[in-house]
């Protein structure tokens, strides 16, 4: 009866929040290795740029409600340019799915399913992500609304147990102001590269906003809270528990923290709870990128063969995932993709679209 494939401003908040937690979870060690204990300043620098990008997306979606940013670019730059950007967007999305699933199944294989063949958890995660993506944008956002607070709470509850048992050491966080501006900028870029995957998702999801003009607060809040504040809190605990030296050398911080955390003889093995956060987070993130790739590809093919396209995306992602043979290789590829492809692509798309839209408006005003 009430059939609206639209999402509210409040729900886009959770979409951004969910889209933020991708490879960045594994990537923080690199930022710490660059910026050291001053990582928080890198987050603030990167966060400002991220919020500016979010505002650019919001401005475009407000001006062209119901259109994705790629479609807006297509309208202003012509079909060929739009198609090229759309194809790159699809490939980036599928690559992110493959790498992220490989990262999380690498951890799962190493810590939880030692004797299970690697293809099995990959298949399970991918099938579930495809199932959720196929249910449509409303179901996805409703799921994110329910799941995201639980995931973040799980991370903080499990890791914060270290405070109870004095495993957190404040001296690990000091001294600050020891990194150079170049290191901070470098750290800021390393931070923004993976978290701008949320902007990548936003390029598509804003087209489904019910009231784009009223969503500015939600977008800013989600980027500030989901990306910046929670990342800062996470690394506060990480550095406090592990120390900056160890934290800059291991990629799965949360798991390392939970492995060392215990209270008495009864509370132990809480890494299993963190597995929930990592696994569900990866499924959610894979769902978002599969949906982005699916919708963009469907648009390219004039909304024909939708189910076949989804199946094809699933098969490509599966083949790509099992062809990456280890966690370390996935981590390396992920870094290359984030730093040299995702961020430049998002930045270029936004800048080009903004310029073309502004030029179009100017021309229209000139012609009266």
């Amino acid at each position: 009866v009430i059939e609206t494939q639209r999402i509210s401003a409040r729900q886009i908040f959770f979409v951004i929040w969910a889209a933020t937690y991708g490879g960045g979870v594994y990537y923080a060690c690199l930022i710490i290795s660059k910026a050291g204990r001053d990582i928080f300043f890198s987050y603030i620098t990167g966060g400002i740029i991220l919020i500016l990008m979010g505002l650019a997306v919001w401005h475009l979606s407000k001006s062209f409600p119901g259109y994705t940013i790629i479609q807006i670019l297509e309208q202003h730059a012509g079909g060929i340019t739009g198609t090229i950007f759309a194809v790159i967007y699809i490939f980036i999305s599928i690559a992110l799915v493959a790498l992220l699933i490989r990262l999380v199944t690498g951890l799962v294989g190493a810590f939880f399913l030692i004797n299970t063949p690697g293809w099995f958890p990959i298949l399970m995660i991918l099938l579930l992500a495809l199932y959720i993506a196929a249910k449509g944008i409303e179901v996805q956002t409703r799921l994110f609304v329910m799941v995201m607070p639980v995931l973040v709470s799980l991370w903080f509850i499990t890791t914060s147990i270290g405070f109870i048992n004095n495993q957190f050491d404040f001296s690990n966080l000091l001294p600050i102001f020891e990194s150079s501006p170049a290191q901070l900028i470098s750290g800021g870029y390393l931070f923004i590269a993976p978290v701008c995957e949320s902007i990548l998702a936003l390029l598509l999801f804003t087209a489904s906003l019910r009231n784009p003009s009223q969503s500015r607060g939600s977008i800013i809040m989600a980027l500030a809270m989901g990306a910046v504040i929670i990342s800062m809190a996470t690394d506060f605990i990480t550095i406090g528990m592990l120390g900056v030296e160890l934290a800059s050398r291991v990629s799965y911080h949360g798991l390392n923290i939970t492995l060392i955390v215990s209270v008495g003889e009864f509370i132990q093995g809480i890494e299993v709870l963190l597995l929930v956060a990592l696994e569900v987070g990866a499924i959610i993130k894979a769902t978002i990128h599969i949906y982005c790739a699916w919708m963009t590809a469907s648009h390219l093919l004039n909304d024909r063969f939708r189910r076949a396209i989804l199946a094809a995306i699933g098969i490509i992602a599966y083949i790509a995932t099992i062809s990456i043979d280890s966690f370390n290789r996935a981590f390396f590829y992920y870094r290359i993709l984030s730093e040299y492809v995702v961020f430049p692509f998002v930045a270029l798309t936004l800048i080009l679209t903004l310029i073309l839209v502004a030029a179009g408006n100017k021309k229209r005003n000139y012609l009266g």
Binding site: F120, M124, V272, E279
Partner: protein, 535 residues
């Protein structure tokens, strides 16, 4: 065949079975001869010795009337007093000569000679026979080609009793019965306002079961009401043998394990749901109301929650959530931790479990599955057996079989504990459909835990959660309002909110009329404080 009959024969529906349905016959009309009409009715309802058809002579043979009814379905006293006596005692005082011509006499009968206000006139034999089969009495008059149908239905029915399934400590002790008219009265007594609307349907080519849709005009979303009419109107089936049949034919996704409707046997619950903007569907012959749209969290709320202090009610509601968690996840988690993720279990506990499992020849998954199946069989046996015997069999069966299985070394004691706790937890869930769905989900999760440990349990749980979130009940998301993203929407979901906090009805249900409580429903001590201040 008249024009009406011709049109009807063109548009009537055929059946696959080849059985000739009453609707498939040509539309036969009432004739002017009483004898012929009585013969026709006897011919249609043949071989039924409870059919009573007789003639009454009026004014010494000036007029003849035929009276037909089915014994056992009617109130004989009413027929005698309201119909036969009135026909025989004719003429009434002040009657004109016109009143004794056949047509005029029929009008006089309708206008007051027969002291029953529920009178209908028909010219169709089919409609007439259907009415007789429903417990009405038909009256023919010689020389008139229409007949009167008078409501005299009265048959043995169960009295209003205490609810069997939805037992309550503090709530109402009345429950619906099989008679739909009584159920209407029970609802009307709780909502004595003109806005309570009923629309009647007939479902079932053979059973012709009467179905009522009830809603509160001005509160229920008109789109949902219209949708209910549309879905019920399109049901075309031969026999209605259960409310579950109607549910399956009208729900949004019949293949899903999760319920998309609420059934209640308590009029109080039905009325409360109507007051929130939902609709209730009653089916003649069944002592439940189907309430739609369902919001899944509503299935974990009971009237008892609101009969207690809000903190007590909240605690009990949270216990219910815990029971859902245990019923669905206790056995899969045990399996995952024992078979895959040992590190979670503290070493002392792990050694106890290992000691219990010593000598058990089966893998943990078989132990869990075996005991789950045994408990489910005992549960079903308990339902089918007489009440006293059923509970005894359930408890004794579980204890005896469990003890015997442990003593024989087939099952370890921790499994007995886990499965027993799981079974008890399912009884805490107030909704039987939800409890059934959780049992099915439990089997799925046990399988996934056996295949891939805790990883599989997470995958399965997320899959089930997505299923619930994707479902709609009459267009309203089942997970509404928890998935709107507003913390305030969780107010009366996770806990039982104070009554004064629930000033609004759910927006999607009561579209445009959400306010359920006036501003004057402020804290009770405010008025006293003001008065105190004046003094």
């Amino acid at each position: 065949m008249n024009l009406f009959g011709l049109l009807k024969s063109l548009f009537h529906k055929s059946t696959d079975s080849g059985t000739v349905m009453p609707s498939q016959k040509e539309a036969i009309t009432v004739g002017k001869s009483v004898d012929e009409n009585l013969r026709l009715v006897k011919d249609i309802i043949r071989d039924d010795d409870s059919l009573t058809a007789g003639k009454v002579t009026i004014r010494g043979g000036e007029l003849t009337a035929g009276v037909v009814y089915l014994n056992g379905l009617v109130d004989q006293d009413s027929i005698s007093r309201q119909i036969v006596e009135r026909l025989v005692e004719c003429p009434p005082g002040g009657a004109s000569q016109n009143d004794f011509r056949p047509k005029g006499y029929l009008e006089a009968l309708k206008k007051g000679l027969i002291t029953n206000l529920a009178i209908k006139e028909t010219f169709l034999i089919e409609e007439l026979t259907c009415a007789i089969l429903d417990g009405n009495t038909a009256v023919f008059l010689e020389g008139v080609d229409t007949a009167l149908i008078i409501d005299t239905a009265e048959f043995a029915k169960r009295a209003v009793e205490k609810p069997d399934v939805e037992t309550s400590l503090l709530g109402s002790k009345e429950s619906f019965v099989e008679d739909i008219k009584t159920n209407k009265v029970l609802l009307r007594r709780r909502l004595p306002i003109p806005g309570l609307r009923f629309r009647s349907f007939r479902i079932g080519r053979l059973s012709r079961t009467r179905v009522y849709v009830a809603w509160l005009e001005g509160i229920a979303n008109p789109k949902i009401v219209e949708e209910a009419f549309r879905r019920i109107g399109r049901i075309d089936i031969d026999y209605v043998y259960s409310t579950g049949l109607i549910i399956e034919l009208i729900e949004d996704n019949p293949l899903s394990i999760w319920p998309q409707y609420k059934t209640t046997e308590v009029p109080e619950v039905a009325a409360a749901n109507l007051s929130e903007g939902r609709i209730a569907i009653f089916c003649d012959g069944f002592p439940q109301a189907i309430v739609v749209p369902l919001l899944i969290f509503q299935e974990l709320q009971t009237t008892d929650d609101y009969g207690q202090k809000f903190l007590t009610g909240s605690m009990i509601r949270m216990l219910r959530y815990l029971a859902v968690f245990i019923a669905m996840l206790a056995s899969p988690l045990y399996l995952a931790f024992v078979a895959y993720n040992h590190t979670v279990i503290p070493s002392d506990l792990a050694s106890h479990i290992a000691a219990g499992r010593k000598g058990v020849p089966f893998p943990s998954v078989l132990e869990v599955l075996f005991m789950t199946v045994v408990i489910d069989i005992l549960r079903e046996a308990g339902i089918k057996l007489p009440r006293a015997l059923g509970s005894a069999i359930g408890i004794l069966g579980a204890v005896v079989i469990g003890q015997a299985a442990v003593a024989a070394g087939y099952v370890s004691p921790p499994v007995i504990i886990i499965i027993s706790v799981t079974a008890i937890a399912t009884f805490v869930i107030p909704s039987y459909p939800l409890s059934g769905a959780i049992r099915v989900a439990n089997y799925l999760l046990v399988f996934l835990a056996a295949v891939s440990g805790f990883f599989g349990v997470i995958i399965g749980s997320l899959f089930l959660l997505t299923q619930i979130i994707a479902l709609r009940s009459f267009g309203i998301p089942l997970s509404y309002p928890a998935t709107t993203g507003f913390i305030s929407s969780l107010r009366d979901i996770l806990v039982r909110a104070p009554i004064r906090g629930n000033k609004k009805r759910p927006e999607l249900l009561a579209h445009g009329n959400e306010t359920r409580m006036g501003q004057s429903a402020a804290k009770p001590d405010q008025g006293n404080r003001k008065r105190g201040g004046r003094r």
